[in-house]
């Protein structure tokens, strides 16, 4: 029981190169510190092994939102508040804006960053299901260079990712969804703010000729990582949405996800709500809402 912080070191690199050099020279020793909304909680609770931190919040290379006709690319330091205020994101990426609005409270939204939400790799994070449904790609940078990975391939296990100890998340690139795409997101927490999810869903689909032409389904808090439910998507792909399809999709989803009991909810509740939320999305698709 402590109201006490251990000693720590916090440096402010002058530029991105200096930040990446820290990671290169002492891999694993330095923890990047962006908004700090996760790190400060863990640190105060004595659950963070690191004692060396470097701030990246001041690095302009990791900021900004760029648009091309194909993509919208967000700097890793884009805050939840910036997401909510961006006109294009509001118009074309409502699920991401909704996730940003439902993350923590106003103070957390002002400081917390998308890159941090991704790098922290919590299975209960709010923005990742939307990013999965938008088929996002991540740019990982290091002193050795840069590489792009599909966000769907980013998580490898509970709090495990393909990121190397010398890398930072630099940018998040999302293809602009077609104007025909239907989007539906839902977060269920104990309360409407300042609550980590019991379950979180994002779904995006395009219908053609009454059939599912493309569908992407993603959940948070139902597995060791946020998950894209490709098997359930396969069950739905090319199908008309009727009672039988919904039943088949529910059955597939029930075996595709593996929720657990924890302090926020139970496995049984999460499973049932996941199925109900999926059904709600599919019913809306069928009704062309």
């Amino acid at each position: 029981m402590r109201a006490y912080l251990p000693g720590y070191e916090l440096v402010v690199p002058r530029d991105l190169a200096e930040a990446l050099a820290l990671l290169r020279d002492e891999p694993g020793a330095w923890k990047p510190f962006a908004g700090g909304t996760d790190l400060m909680v863990l640190f105060e609770a004595g659950r963070l092994a690191h004692r060396k931190f470097f701030s990246i919040l001041q690095l302009p290379e990791l900021r900004g939102v760029e648009e091309t006709s194909e993509h919208v690319t967000l700097g890793a330091l884009t805050t939840y508040t910036e997401v909510q205020r961006h006109a294009t994101l509001r118009r074309e990426f409502p699920m991401l804006c909704r996730a940003a609005r439902e993350t923590g409270g106003v103070a957390i939204q002002n400081r917390g960053t998308l890159g941090g939400n991704i790098a922290n790799a919590s299975p209960a994070a709010d923005s990742p299901p939307a990013l999965l449904a938008y088929d996002a790609q991540l740019e990982l940078i290091s002193a050795a260079g840069s590489r792009w990975v599909a966000y769907g391939d980013f998580h490898t296990g509970y709090k495990q990712t393909v990121m190397r100890p010398d890398e930072l998340v630099a940018r998040i690139r999302c293809p602009r969804p077609s104007t025909n795409a239907k989007q539906y997101a839902r977060k269920v927490g104990t309360r409407r703010a300042q609550a980590i999810s019991k379950i979180c869903f994002a779904g995006l689909a395009e219908m053609f000729d009454g059939r599912v032409a493309e569908i992407r389904l993603a959940f948070g808090s139902v597995a060791p990582t946020v998950v894209r439910c490709r098997r359930t998507e396969a069950v739905l792909s090319g199908q008309k949405i009727d009672a039988a399809t919904i039943r088949a999709a529910r059955s597939e989803l029930a075996v595709e996800i593996a929720p657990i009991d924890d302090v926020r909810s139970t496995a049984g509740y999460r499973l049932r709500v996941a199925l109900n939320v999926l059904e709600e999305f599919l019913s809306r698709l069928a009704a062309n809402e």
Binding site: T190, R191, R192, G268
Partner: protein, 824 residues
């Protein structure tokens, strides 16, 4: 009707603002600001943790990480050797036990030979700064021998050994009571319908914004001063004298302004005693501020209570008999638990007529943080069960639940079956107000699936009729000193925990003396300087300190009147005190200023000071156990909640609450409204999400001792509240005032539960009503099972023989019936 909760103004029932003699009131009934409001709003108020004294040390308590174990050894040598450490103490240094109730002196400032819950303190250090104290604390080595852990009511009644305490009713039963008022069999035989229901109310905690903090200074004259965030400085004073082996006259306890209490700062706490001992040893001031995690483990919050209620009713809903069983999970120590146990069975009878009543209550010891009083102390749990059961009874009888309640209200100025004397009783008006305001008749059972309304009522005491320790002295004392320049000083032992008790003193004295409340210096909660008030608990302060202040002020006015009447050559009865003047009502220009009046009085009588005190009336109950429940007056509340239930997720949103509260009279309607809304807010937390729960691996570790995961409503969950104040002056209240600090919380939880049923047709007979439980009940309903989530039974226990008392209607005298010897 206004729908904006901030603009609906103050609804008065009587439409005027005059005292019992018809005199217009200038201060009472007006929405003055609090006397301490500006300091609170601008951050100037000095709380306990803001106190910094020269050469001050910091203390940390090492707390057990074992839930139940014998202390084999404690090695403090490494901690003592750490530079900057000035003292390390353990249980043997403070061997005298204490506890809030004389019958439960079962705590030690530091555990002597055994730890009983995770968080029980075993050693303490004082060091030059908090970091050094923390480091030293971690250098203390404790060797434990583990004992079996008892984690639930069910385990406690089954497992006799090991015993958590060696006193109580045997095994791990702390207290069990069995009271019977009237012939229950006859009552149930008369009933047209009898229902038996089982309910569970999970424990929750106070969650004050301010963590507990205390600073002790044992000075060079061997006098000890303790500044502490407490609701009960007088009881802390007594506990310090006992445990430190000091004369009470050498100890001064100053209660600092409270950043929230809600019952959580009503016990004397181990950290308070520990800093005093550390200061005595080091002769330096010592401060301790608990971490938020420690506050969760100190707890003393709402008891988890399992209940079985059997109620018989006639076709029109008239109750013929009620049999109430409650099982309390007390945690590791006694605290207020014996009183809590009685409270789970006391107030069932003051809302509706219950002619025959039986109460069986049992409190168990478990290896968890001790439970105690939280807002409503022991009564929200039975009230939840009772009001939900009434909703079920009304449905079975095809009666409107509001009509059914209205028809069978307990009458005013009556004595209940269990010998509680009811004075004023405004519950009927409260129900009528919320029924009309909410458009109940067009909503109940008429809204679309997913939307619903629910009604519930409640009552609460305006101060416990008896003190914590037996004595015949007043419960509250006020001293008034009048300065010849017109200043007035009020001294009273009461502590303002945010409810506005300092302000109430000023308003009442200002009203009587005709001066401005902000002219008055209010000095409270300092055992060296103020007469005893028992503390800010049991909703006693406005009624008791208010009456004491009223008496002191009237005595001062009398002295001033005599002197001024002499000077003005006017009869005393012609004098009026208003607008900082004392004048002849028949000739208002003839008068003196208030300051001149004090000069005249001081010239005539010498230094002007008066006292007032208040002792509650004797209760008609004379049986053993009659001490819990009696009060000078009872407040009443009725609430209707309107909810939205999402059947997909089980998520309950409370959209609006209409609440009527019988306040007797508002001393300050703005503060009353604030308390009502605060009660609704806390009630929503209890109804929907708050719970003190522990990991199930038998280690009894709190699942989430932090504000991150112990979920309490945010501003987004707070609903609109429409408040109706019913003002029907009670003869025992100052200007007729009754309580509001606790009562309005009580109807919220059952109103929400009843609304959930109205919305989706499932009963969640358990608090909190989480989405998981709603969804489970909906699933049961869809599968054709009972549309309910809740407990199914209570443990079978052997109750002691009933203590039988004839009811007043049966000609009883409030005494226990002689037990008839059975010859075989």
């Amino acid at each position: 009707m206004a729908t904006n909760k901030n603009s609906n103004g103050f609804r008065r029932n009587d439409g005027n603002n005059a005292d019992a003699n018809g005199k217009d009131l200038k201060v009472v009934g007006k929405p003055f600001r609090k006397v301490d409001a500006r300091a609170k709003c601008t951050g100037q108020t000095k709380f306990a943790d803001d106190i910094v004294l020269p050469r001050m040390l910091y203390a940390k308590l090492l707390r057990s990480h074992e839930p139940h174990a014998i202390i084999k050894s404690i090695d403090t040598s490494k901690a003592e050797a750490l530079p900057g450490v000035l003292a390390v103490i353990t249980g043997k240094d403070l061997p005298i036990p204490y506890g809030i109730l004389p019958v439960s002196q079962d705590e030690h400032p530091l555990c002597v030979d055994r730890v009983r819950f995770i968080g029980d303190p075993v050693a303490a250090v004082a060091a030059i700064d908090e970091d050094t104290a923390f480091e030293a604390m971690n250098l203390i080595e404790v060797e434990y021998e583990k004992l079996q852990t008892i984690t639930s009511i069910e385990e406690a009644v089954l497992i006799d050994e090991p015993r958590i305490h060696d006193y109580g009713e045997g095994g791990n039963v702390h207290k069990s009571v069995h009271l019977e008022f009237g012939d229950l069999d006859e009552g149930f035989a008369q009933a047209d319908l009898v229902r038996e229901d089982v309910f569970f109310y999970e424990g929750n905690t106070h969650l004050p914004m301010e963590q507990h903090a205390a600073v002790a200074h044992y000075d060079s004259d061997d006098k000890l001063t303790l500044w502490t965030s407490t609701q009960t400085p007088h009881y802390v004073h007594r506990a310090l004298a006992k445990t430190l082996g000091m004369r009470a006259a050498h100890i001064r306890v100053i209660a600092t302004p409270n950043g929230g209490g809600f019952g959580g700062k009503s016990d004397p706490f181990n950290h308070e005693i520990v800093v005093c001992e550390l200061s005595r040893r080091t002769r330096r001031p010592v401060k301790v501020t608990l971490t938020r995690e420690e506050v969760f483990y100190c707890h003393r919050g709402r008891h988890p209570v399992l209940m079985k209620i059997k109620t018989g009713v006639k076709k029109d809903g008239a109750i013929t008999a009620m049999d109430f069983e409650s099982f309390l999970d007390g945690g590791a120590y006694g605290s207020y638990g014996v009183a809590s146990t009685f409270y789970t069975g006391a107030l069932q009878t003051v809302t509706y007529d219950v002619p025959r009543y039986r109460f069986k209550g049992l409190r168990a010891f478990t290896n968890k943080p001790p439970c105690g009083p939280k807002r409503g102390h022991g009564t929200p749990q039975p009230r939840f069960g009772l009001e939900v059961q009434l909703d079920k009874l009304a449905e079975e009888l095809k009666l409107d639940p509001a009509e059914m309640r209205l028809k069978h209200l307990a009458p005013p100025n009556s004595v209940t079956a269990n010998y509680l004397r009811i004075g004023s009783m405004g519950l009927g008006k409260c129900i009528e107000k919320v029924v009309k305001g909410s458009d109940w008749k067009n909503k109940h059972r008429k809204l679309p699936f997913g939307k619903g309304v629910g009604l519930a009522c409640s009552s609460y005491i305006c101060g416990a009729g008896l003190p914590i320790y037996w004595n015949n002295m007043p419960h509250s004392g006020v001293q008034l000193a009048l300065d010849r320049q017109g200043g007035v000083r009020i001294q009273c032992g009461s502590i303002d925990i945010g409810q506005g008790s300092d302000s109430i003193l000023a308003y009442i004295v200002a009203e009587v003396l005709g001066i401005d409340p902000f002219d008055i210096r209010v000095l409270t909660a300092d055992t060296d300087l103020t007469p005893v008030d028992l503390g800010s608990y049991s909703s006693r302060v406005t009624l008791m300190t208010g009456n004491a202040a009223l008496q002191a002020a009237e005595r001062a006015r009398e002295l001033l009147s005599i002197a001024v009447a002499e000077k003005l050559c006017t009869p005393v009865e012609n004098l009026s005190f208003a607008d900082r003047r004392v004048f002849d009502v028949e000739n208002p220009e003839t008068g003196v200023t208030f300051a001149e009046a004090v000069v005249l009085a001081e010239s005539k009588f010498g230094t002007i000071g008066t006292v007032g005190s208040y002792t509650p009336p004797r209760s008609p109950g004379k049986f053993k156990g009659a001490g819990v429940g009696p009060s000078p007056a009872y407040s009443y509340s009725a609430a209707i909640a309107e909810v939205d239930v999402d059947a997909e997720t089980g998520f309950v949103t409370v959209e609006r609450v209409w609440i009527g509260h019988d306040i007797g009279r508002s001393i300050n309607p703005m503060l009353v409204m604030g308390q009502v809304e605060g009660g609704v807010y806390m009630g929503l937390g209890e109804a929907l999400m708050e719970e003190m729960i522990y990991r199930a691996n038998r280690n009894a570790v709190h699942k989430f001792p932090s504000m991150l995961e112990y979920k309490s409503p945010t501003t987004l969950e707070m609903c609109d509240v429409l408040t109706y104040l019913v003002e029907d002056a009670d003869p025992n209240g100052p200007f007729g005032a009754k309580e509001v600090g606790q009562g309005p919380l009580l109807p919220v939880m059952p109103a929400v539960a009843n609304a959930v049923y109205d919305a989706v047709g499932v009963r969640v007979d358990e608090v909190p009503i989480t989405p998981e439980k709603v969804l489970a009940a909906l699933r049961a309903k869809a599968r054709g099972k009972e549309a309910r989530f809740g407990p199914t039974g209570v443990p079978a226990v052997e109750w002691p023989d009933a203590l039988k008392v004839l009811t007043p209607a049966e000609g009883g005298d409030g005494k226990e019936m002689p037990r008839v010897a059975v010859h075989s």
